[in-house]
Amino acid sequence: MKIMEQLTLVALVGLAGIVIASLLPIPFPGSIMSMLVMFVLLLSKAIKIRQIEQVSQFFLANMGAFFIVPVVAILEQLEVMKGKTLQFFAVCIVSTLLTFIATAGSVKLTLMLIRKSQENKGAGQ
């Protein structure tokens, strides 16, 4: 499909995400809902990858370019960060290590439980 048609499709799915998110009883970001909508449409084959291929590849490959502006805006936050920079780093670092360990542990445990239940099923037959 032509780039313009691909962009139109992505914009429409984005709009659908906002509409659905606004109907939910809890606050839910429209962009994340649109990601979910796109996923469901791809799963149900209502949208095929080739219909959005170039546009989605462009966005996925260059996403970093769109986050530069929010980082530059840190200039406005220097007052809030004053004297707190070290703590800010510490919280992020420690929390990341804990998250890694908790995730790895829970996946390991789940895989073990699944294997065990499969073995039990095998033994029962």
């Binding site: 649109s34 990601m35 805006a73 800010f88 804990l98 360990i101 790895a104």
Partner: protein, 226 residues
């Protein structure tokens, strides 16, 4: 001069130029501490400080680029869809791992920040730090955080994940590629997934899937926690 710097083209041109330069640098010097976005942001900040051009002028064009984060987020679905077979095969462990990871990340940020006496604005800005930037910014906005602080936290998280993963993998003897991939993707999003890809194809794919699931799980945990 004012008409030039207050035109949207100023912010857009400066940002893209800095990003291209960042890509050039990271092609020459490969390091987890360097990524095109960090280099570009440093360049833009330096340029504005040197010239004395106000941030508000830069943001005229900058705001246009920020709007594009939305469709970019929509397109994350495409990267997950291309790994749908792996997601189906390991659905339960992935969902459990990502949910536990999302809860640990947010829970530990709240507790650590409270313990260190950090103000609310920093806590809520850091809370979504383990998910990919596009999703983190949205969650931060939902909690009335500051997007720029959130992006900083996301970057620190990614770099921490990349640097610590080899040590943690050795320390806890994590040999299963599925566990390695989910742990990296969940704890340190895209940057962690790039590292997972270095460990192997399966690890990279699992990392990519985990970014998506952790993003959704984080929205859920945030809805419950705040």
């Amino acid at each position: 001069m004012n008409t030039i710097v207050n035109s949207p083209m100023f912010g857009i041109a400066l940002t893209f130029l800095a990003y291209e330069f960042g890509i050039l640098v990271t092609r020459k010097v490969r390091s987890p501490l360097l990524n095109p976005m960090v280099i570009a942001a440093a360049l833009c900040i330096g340029f504005l400080q040197l010239t004395g051009i106000p941030l508000a002028s830069y943001q005229v064009g900058g705001d246009f680029l920020i709007m594009l984060i939305f469709p970019a987020t929509t397109c994350i679905a495409v990267s997950v869809y291309s790994k749908i077979d792996l997601l189906k095969r390991h659905f339960v462990p992935i969902v459990v791992g990502c949910t536990v990871g999302a809860a640990t990340s947010i829970g530990s940020v709240i507790l650590l920040a409270k313990w260190l006496g950090l103000p609310e604005i920093l806590t809520v800005s850091m809370a979504p730090k383990s998910v990919t930037t596009a999703i983190a910014i949205e969650i931060s906005a939902l909690l009335q955080g500051q997007p720029s602080l959130t992006v900083m936290a996301v970057m620190i998280t990614g770099i921490t994940g990349v640097l610590s993963a080899p040590i943690l993998i050795k320390l806890f003897r994590i040999t299963d590629p599925i566990i390695q991939g989910v742990a990296l993707g969940t704890s340190s999003h895209v940057i962690g997934t790039a590292k997972a890809l270095e460990l192997g194809q399966t690890q990279g794919a699992m990392g990519g899937i985990s970014i998506f699931i952790t993003g959704l799980a984080t929205v859920g945990v945030v809805a419950l926690a705040f």
